[in-house]
C-alpha cells in the first residue's frame, strides 16, 4: 500500500533569511481577502448577511420594507399556518389527490416564519452589545466610586496619624 508523504512546507521561508537584521527585506504578509474566495474547492464569502427570500426562490408572504412589525407579522403567519393545516385536513377528506399544493403552501409559511426569525438576529446582536456596554459603564462607575472612597479614607487616616504624632 503506497502512502503519500505530507507536502513540503511552502518555499517562502527562504525570503525571510535576513528578517532579524532588516525587517524590510522580506515580503509583507498578504492583505486580508475581501469578497469571495475558494477554499478546498468550495466558494465562500466574507460578507455574511442573511440572503433575502427571493434569492432562495421562496415567495415572501409578509410585507417588505425597512421596518417590519415583527410581532404582528409573526402572529399573522402563525394564524395562516393553522388555517393551512385545517385546509390540508379538509382536502384529505374531500379530494385526497390534491394534497401536494396544500403541503407546499404549509412549507412556504414555515420558510417565511424561519426567515423572519433569522432576520431578528442582527437586532438581537445589537441589543446584546448595548446591554454589555451598559454593564461595563456601570462597573466602571462603581470602580471610580470605590477608588474615590478609598483615597478619602486613606487621607483621613494619614491626617489622624499626623495629628497623633504631632501631639507627642
Amino acid at each position: 500500500m503506497a502512502t503519500a508523504t505530507y507536502p513540503p512546507p511552502p518555499p517562502y521561508y527562504r525570503l525571510y533569511k535576513d528578517y532579524s537584521q532588516d525587517p524590510k527585506s522580506a515580503p509583507e504578509p498578504p492583505p486580508p481577502i475581501e469578497g469571495t474566495y475558494v477554499c478546498f474547492g468550495a466558494t465562500y464569502t466574507t460578507d455574511d448577511t442573511l440572503p433575502c427570500l427571493e434569492e432562495q426562490g421562496v415567495r415572501q408572504l409578509y410585507p417588505k420594507g425597512p421596518d417590519v412589525d415583527y410581532k404582528k407579522e409573526l402572529r399573522s403567519l402563525n394564524g395562516d399556518l393553522q388555517l393551512h393545516i385545517l385546509e390540508l385536513a379538509d382536502v384529505l377528506i374531500e379530494r385526497p389527490s390534491q394534497y401536494a399544493r396544500r403541503v407546499e403552501e404549509i412549507s412556504l409559511v414555515f420558510k417565511n416564519l424561519h426567515h423572519l426569525l433569522n432576520s431578528l438576529r442582527p437586532h438581537q446582536a445589537r441589543a446584546t452589545l448595548i446591554h454589555i456596554l451598559e454593564l461595563q459603564i456601570q462597573r466602571r462607575k462603581q470602580a471610580v466610586e470605590d477608588i474615590k472612597r478609598r483615597r478619602e479614607e486613606a487621607r483621613r487616616l494619614l491626617d489622624e496619624a499626623l495629628k497623633t504624632t504631632d501631639g507627642n
Binding site: 409573526l74 384529505l92 448595548i130 459603564i137 466602571r140
Partner: protein
C-alpha cells in the same frame, strides 16, 4: 435559551405536531363509505374504534396549545422602539460615555497610585528613623 431560539424551537415543534397529526389520522382512519351504490365497508371493531375517537382530539389540542405558546412567546419579544438607526445611535452614545468614564477611571487610578507611592515613601522614612534611633545601644 434566548427567546429567538425558543421561537425557532416552537416553530419546529408546531411542524412536528402538524405532520404527526395528519399522518396518524391518515394512517389509522377507518375506511369510509364512498357512494350509496357500494355496500358499507367492513368495519374493524377491535383495536381502533375506542382510542381512535380520542386521538384527533388529543392531537389537535396539542397543536393548538403549541400555537398559543408561540403567540405568548411572540408577545414576550423585547423589541423596543424602531429599528437599526436608533440602536446604532444608542451604541455610539454608550461608547462615548464609556470612553469618558474610562478616562475618569484612569485619572483616579493614577492619582491613587501616586498617593500610594507617597505613603510608601513616608513609611520607608519612618521605619528608617526608627531603625536609626535604635542604633546607639
Amino acid at each position: 435559551m434566548d427567546i429567538i431560539s425558543q421561537l425557532q424551537e416552537q416553530v419546529n415543534l408546531i411542524a412536528h405536531l402538524a405532520f404527526n397529526t395528519i399522518g396518524t389520522l391518515q394512517r389509522d382512519a377507518p375506511p369510509n363509505r364512498l357512494s350509496p351504490n357500494y355496500p358499507e365497508p367492513p368495519a374493524h371493531p377491535t383495536e381502533d374504534a375506542a382510542n381512535f375517537a380520542e386521538q384527533p382530539k388529543i392531537m389537535s389540542a396539542a397543536l393548538v396549545k403549541a400555537a398559543k405558546q408561540f403567540d405568548a412567546l411572540v408577545a414576550a419579544l423585547p423589541i423596543s422602539e424602531g429599528g437599526e438607526e436608533a440602536q446604532l445611535k444608542r451604541i455610539t452614545e454608550l461608547q462615548a460615555e464609556n470612553d469618558m468614564i474610562g478616562q475618569e477611571l484612569q485619572k483616579q487610578l493614577e492619582a491613587a497610585e501616586r498617593e500610594l507611592n507617597q505613603v510608601q515613601e513616608l513609611y520607608r522614612q519612618a521605619s528608617d528613623n526608627c531603625l536609626n534611633l535604635k542604633k546607639p545601644e
